[in-house]
């Protein structure tokens, strides 16, 4: 018991680190944006897309001729919310950083956002000009927070308190107060510009394309069990750190093996002896992603099951639909899973456990290998069912694994509750202290 108290103490102290406070508040601030964006994304890519899960199983193409219009309509909403989350994070985290140092600088958020966009906005390419939009998506969330934090620190060091909220001041004074902050503005933009320059040089010489090609070539070769596990670890750890870019790569990985498997299964009308029964896509997408990276669905159920924090439960309830369709963003943001040491163990290790157990089931021919294609946004628990051509055994085992995962998550949710209680207690004590 004393030992666990120590853990709670350590976790509370970690939560009070200044950067951690910033990132967690940024997440909670942006939770509504992420939630709306996730819902729009589900509608656009899962529901109204003929390649999406609901679009496929409901054969939307055949009875809803306007599906493309609807798909783009909601797709736009998802782009301006989730698709721009990184610069928004820069905005919020910069504002929070100066507030943390008890300053108020109105222009700070916009400057941070401009710095972020400047850093990654490029029209330079040796052949043709295109602007990559992927740097702005929620996958780059943590980078946005860091940029905002750094810009905030620059302003804290060199900036001055200004106020435009006071409408009694003359316009002259407002202008003057803006000029006093010219140094940090220029400094922040200069740093962003230098980064922009380095990156532009890399693009000019085609360095990033070469790296991209090398990575693609590496992952297009043959996989083995170790790389499969390593990739799963990479994906979960990076997502936990707030950087989810790696997952979008892994969908395309080892394509040739997937094709060989499918080809074999279709010609032999059985998937029992396919050449590559343990491809990363099969194991990781089939059993390591119930509700998205880090088995978010298991976490969600565990929160609804045991958490006595009304806020946590509300977040879980509102994110239930996106999480069911494998979009874990609202839950990881609203329940502060990213960079939260409480959840790092289950978030990273439980998917591995699932994959190991599942590969055992496949090895002993209890369930057949996962070879058939699944539409985008197929709920994680149903991926095994779909990819085995409707094997109910596969679904049953997925549910068993899900139950194990929920049980494993429960102690961590309870621990999170205790940390919250302690923090709330301290806050109350602090307020009481302040009043006296």
């Amino acid at each position: 018991m004393a030992n666990s108290e120590k853990i709670v103490d350590a976790l509370v102290r970690f939560r009070q680190l200044s950067f951690i406070q910033i990132i967690q508040r940024t997440m909670v601030t942006l939770f509504p944006v992420a939630l709306i964006g996730s819902f729009a994304g589900i509608l656009s890519f899962v529901c109204f897309s003929p390649d999406g899960f609901l679009g496929s199983v409901l054969y939307i193409k055949h009875w809803l001729p306007q599906y493309r219009f609807l798909q783009n309509l909601f797709g736009d909403v998802s782009v301006v919310t989730v698709g721009f989350l990184a610069p928004y994070a820069a905005f919020v985290s910069a504002q929070l950083t100066v507030r943390q140092h008890h300053r108020e600088i109105p222009s700070i958020g916009i400057i941070a956002m401009a710095c972020y966009v400047l850093g990654f906005y490029h029209s330079i390419r040796p052949a043709g000009n295109t602007v990559d939009m992927r740097y702005y998506t929620a996958n780059w969330f943590i980078v946005g927070v860091v940029v905002g934090y750094l810009v905030g620190l620059i302003f804290v060091k060199f900036g001055h308190q200004t106020s435009i909220n006071n409408f009694d001041t003359k316009s002259n004074d407002i202008l003057k107060s803006t000029f006093t902050n010219l140094t940090p503005i220029l400094l922040a933009l200069l740093v962003a510009f230098l980064f922009h320059l380095c990156y532009a040089l890399a693009r000019q010489t085609g360095l990033d394309v070469m790296i991209n090609q090398a990575v693609t070539a590496a992952v297009d070769s043959h996989s083995n069990y170790a790389t499969t596990m390593l990739m799963a670890i990479l994906a979960t750890v990076l997502t936990w750190l707030g950087f989810a870019e790696s997952i979008s790569i892994s969908n395309e990985m080892f394509k040739s093996e997937l094709f060989a498997n499918l080809n074999y299964a279709l010609t032999h009308k059985t998937s029992l002896n396919v050449p590559y029964p343990f491809t990363p896509a099969a194991l990781y997408n089939g059993f390591g992603q119930f509700g998205g990276v880090g088995l978010a669905l298991a976490l969600l159920i565990a929160i609804l099951w045991v958490s006595h924090h009304q806020n946590q439960r509300t977040v879980a309830k509102t994110s239930a639909i996106p999480v069911f369709f494998n979009t874990n963003l609202p839950l990881t943001m609203g329940c502060v899973v990213m960079l939260n040491p409480i959840y790092v163990l289950p978030f990273v290790l439980l998917p591995l456990l699932n994959m190991v157990l599942a590969s055992g089931l496949i090895m002993f021919h209890i369930i057949s290998p996962l070879v058939y294609p699944a539409p985008y946004g197929t709920p994680g628990v149903l991926a095994a069912l779909v990819e085995t051509d409707g094997s109910w055994w596969a679904l049953l085992w997925s549910l068993v694994l899900l139950a194990i995962d929920v049980l494993a998550y429960i102690p961590f949710v309870k621990l999170a509750d205790r940390v919250e209680d302690r923090l709330a207690g301290q806050r109350k004590a602090g307020e009481a202290h302040g009043q006296h």
């Binding site: 496929s56 040739s256 060989a260 279709l266 099951w305 058939y372 709920p379 149903l382 069912l385 779909v386």
Partner: protein, 293 residues
């Protein structure tokens, strides 16, 4: 405490309801989908899909098909597909049952020249192709494009063709001006685009490009050098790329589809090549892996 129990019941009910409904739908979908894919995998049909050039109609290849049928006595059927600007797709003719190698001509209401039109036509072709593939369960096909038809094919293959199960085995372009009428030291925007996206071309495709020549330089309309610019797009990316120049009688641009040599080349190199037998029981070989692009 009662509250907690009620809440837990709700969680379980909602979860199992959601999983149950989705699982029923997903199970039905995947069964149908796998059935469809298996049918396609077994299908022996391997059509030749042809695109005429600018200002030409879906009847462009009538003579060619007639002559080919006279040559190999296979009684290939001829299906004509016309795509209107409104998106309407009209079929004339039909495919004889058990015809393994029918000809399908895809023509467009908008049959004008120019890069912007080629882009539009490639998009329309993609629409027609998607309809064709759901109507006929073929798993591989051959492409022939006359003049701008070859350009439409190139644009289509680079931008729209992304099939898991359907493979294009051969592509034959006849007098396709990959650099329009420009000399080769002045590359058009189109040729530069084609080169930029050449990595997206199917790797296992065999490509033939036929040029016609009336006077060492051009076929009366298209410079030979412009046809030969196809090498900048295909050479080294696809499985093989062969350039053939046809001269003599009927080597004029519009006469090329009726040219004897061209017809022989089509018969020899596009038709009747061994059907990629659906490797029944045999391991796949590199060139027979119809699922890789």
């Amino acid at each position: 405490m009662d509250n907690t129990r009620r809440r837990r019941w709700w969680v379980l009910i909602c979860l199992f309801l959601a999983i149950g409904i989705c699982a029923a739908l997903a199970g039905r979908w995947t069964n149908r989908n796998v059935d469809q894919m298996e049918t396609r995998q077994r299908s022996p049909m391997s059509p030749v899909i042809m695109i005429p050039g600018s200002s030409a109609s879906v009847n462009r290849f009538d003579t060619l098909v007639k002559k080919l049928n006279a040559l190999d006595h296979q009684d290939h059927s001829l299906l004509k597909v016309k795509v209107y600007n409104s998106g309407r797709i009209v079929y004339t003719g039909k495919i004889r049952p058990r015809d393994r190698e029918p000809f399908i001509v895809v023509g467009f209401e908008n049959n004008h020249d120019g890069y912007s039109n080629i882009k539009l036509q490639a998009k329309m072709f993609s629409r027609a192709f998607n309809q064709l593939k759901s109507r006929y369960a073929f798993n591989n096909f051959k492409g022939i494009g006359h003049s701008n038809g070859g350009l439409i094919y190139t644009y289509y293959l680079e931008h729209y063709f992304n099939e898991r199960q359907i493979k294009i085995t051969r592509l034959l372009t006849i007098a396709s001006p990959f650099n329009f009428a420009e000399p080769i030291n002045r590359k058009t925007e189109m040729l530069r685009d084609f080169e930029k996206n050449r990595d997206k071309l199917p790797k296992n495709m065999i490509v033939y490009s036929i040029a016609g020549s009336e006077n060492y330089v051009e076929d009366g309309l298209v410079p030979v050098s412009s046809v030969e610019a196809g090498k900048y797009i295909y050479q080294g990316v696809v499985k093989s790329y062969t350039q053939v120049t046809v001269t003599g009688k009927l080597a004029q641009h519009s006469a090329l589809p009726q040219n004897k040599q061209v017809i022989l080349l089509i018969q020899r190199h596009v038709l009747k090549h061994r059907q990629p037998q659906q490797n029944r029981g045999m391991p796949t070989t590199g060139n027979n892996n119809k699922l890789s692009r």
